[in-house]
Amino acid sequence: MKLDHQIIARIITEGAHVLDLGCGNGELLAVLEKEKNALVQGIELNDEQMHICVERGLTVLQGDIESGLVDYPDQSFDYIILNQIMQEIKAADFVIAESLRVGKRVIVGFPNFAHIKARLTLLFAGKTPINEALPYYWFETPNIRFLTIRDFTDYCLKKNIHIEQACYLGKSKPVHILPNLLALNAVFVITKGGAQSA
């Protein structure tokens, strides 16, 4: 199982209601359904990925991420998962705000652009970094923005978003020191700041 999926599966509580935005072929949701008895809903745009989801027995809506949350009532789900999509969506700020409205907790996973190898590639080779977490050439990448762990924590501070948990991932195991330098990926659990953050 992918390391980020393992981390997310560990975070999700037994029997939780989970919405995965951009759920792909439903690999993660299938794990959550099986191992956590989670009630899962996915949203995905791609036809073939959709078919695989239905074959897995998952509940999945065909639609885009930006409009996917709008009609759900407040606090409809225990968890909203935004895994590996932050870098691909247009209205990231809006999607995070909507996720915090619709979900009690939001799990955000993204590749860390400030990983040391990425920094060195840019600094010394003068090339767009390509690594395990950012595996694309500039001309084929689906990523429209690059963010770092520091960017994300700054954003949460500014928006009064409470970071309940942060997990930093290396190639095959968690990273515990200097995450913004050494982590390839990050997984955050966030909630609305203020009274709810307890």
């Binding site: 809903q41 027995g57 065909q62």
Partner: protein
């Protein structure tokens, strides 16, 4: 006999609301006695937990699958119903009944009014989709089925599936509304109104009392031609007919030069043989009245446990995908776990009857994962 067919089937009849009972209609009027024509395929299990109700569209009937004795044409959804098919008769017990207001064995304007001994004609009360569903509920009760595994249908059949979910949420596990809408748009009402006016403008309609003289053939045929145009797509018409001529050259007369003209005439005039003009009026009106938008849908329920599979087809311009997406939006507000798929197709509204490959894959998987043990 086709492969994977349910074989020879027979339409059966169920009558309820016999005096002193009646069926209360939305219009405020009552109907009784009421007969429903129905067919079943497969076997009801001992727990009665494998029943699927198939709801037909505007001109459909109870004969959804298999063959009537002596017939060469199969039921209207035979591609979807049978052993190993999307609605697998080895696993499920399939029920399909003709709607009230129809003309294929269920009580409608062409059936005999017991009080007068002649057809009800235009004195038949206006019926709604909800009335159709209320009648189906009596049939399901008659079978002793407490919970349907699924209610499925395309177009007007999809409206019935939604109506079931809204009115009898405790009595269904899943619903599969296909190529349908929560309500008709002005464009859809407009098409239906032109269709009705076409029938009613035929002098042979005789204000609805035509039964001893025969059908308003011209009006009904043209009405059906209009319908057929809306069921196809620009692309499917191009593929099917292009500008091909029936004979090799233009006739320079007002006859059916083009294949598309011949097709419409053929479909129109064939329809007259099998469908009652007044039923067409009543059923199109029922569709226009249907409105489960906003708070009309599941009015007393905040969250629903019903699992939905909503399907639309990209080339369907009569019931465009955005109308199915409206259903999905409403389901989100009810916190329903929903699967929605906008399937690639070229066949327009007819796709749900014809383009069955992806539809089968989806429905089969969906049902397999939602069946009660």
């Amino acid at each position: 006999m086709h492969k994977n067919s349910v074989g020879i089937v027979k339409t059966q009849y169920f009558t309820f609301a016999e005096p002193p009972d009646t069926l209360q209609l939305k219009s405020g009027r009552t109907l009784g006695p009421v007969t429903l024509a129905y067919e079943t395929y497969g076997t009801l299990n001992s727990g009665k937990s494998n029943a699927i109700l198939v709801c037909h569209a505007l001109s459909g009937d109870a004969h959804a699958a298999g063959f009537h004795e002596g017939d060469t044409a199969a039921g209207w959804w035979d591609d979807m119903i049978g052993p190993g098919k999307a609605l697998d008769t080895k696993l499920y017990f399939i029920i399909c009944s003709n709607v009230i207001g129809g003309c294929k064995g269920s009580t409608g304007p062409s059936s005999i009014n017991g009080a007068t001994g002649i057809p009800h004609a235009i004195d038949f009360p206006l019926i709604t989709i909800e009335d159709m569903v209320d009648a189906q509920k009596k049939l399901i009760d008659f079978f002793g089925i407490e919970k349907l595994l699924c209610v499925i249908g395309g177009s007007m059949g999809g409206m019935q599936a939604l109506q079931w979910a809204s009115k009898y949420p405790e009595n269904i596990v899943t619903a599969i509304p296909i190529a349908t809408a929560l309500k008709h748009s002005p464009q859809q009402i407009a098409f239906n109104e032109v269709i009705r006016q076409t029938i009613m403008a035929d002098p042979a309609w005789r204000e609805g009392y035509y039964y001893e003289h025969g059908q308003p053939e011209k009006g009904l045929a043209v009405a059906r031609m209009i319908g057929h145009i809306t069921f196809m797509s620009d692309q499917s018409m191009e593929e099917k007919f292009s500008r091909r001529l029936k004979n090799d050259n233009l006739s320079f007369q007002f006859i059916d030069d083009f294949e598309v003209e011949g097709y419409l005439r053929y479909r129109g005039y064939n329809f007259v043989k099998r469908f009652d003009a007044n039923s067409y009026l009543y059923i199109t009106k029922a569709m226009d009245y249907f409105d489960l938008s906003g708070d009309n849908f599941l009015p007393t329920v905040k969250k629903t446990a019903i699992r939905f599979l909503v399907i639309s087809f990209k080339s369907d311009w009569l019931y465009p995908s955005h109308q199915s997406q409206d259903i999905v939006r409403l389901l989100k507000r009810k916190h329903a776990y929903t699967t929605y798929f906008d399937l690639i197709s070229t066949w327009g509204h007819d796709a749900f009857l014809i383009e069955i490959e992806d539809e089968t894959r989806l429905i089969k998987n969906f049902l397999a994962n939602n069946s009660l043990a």
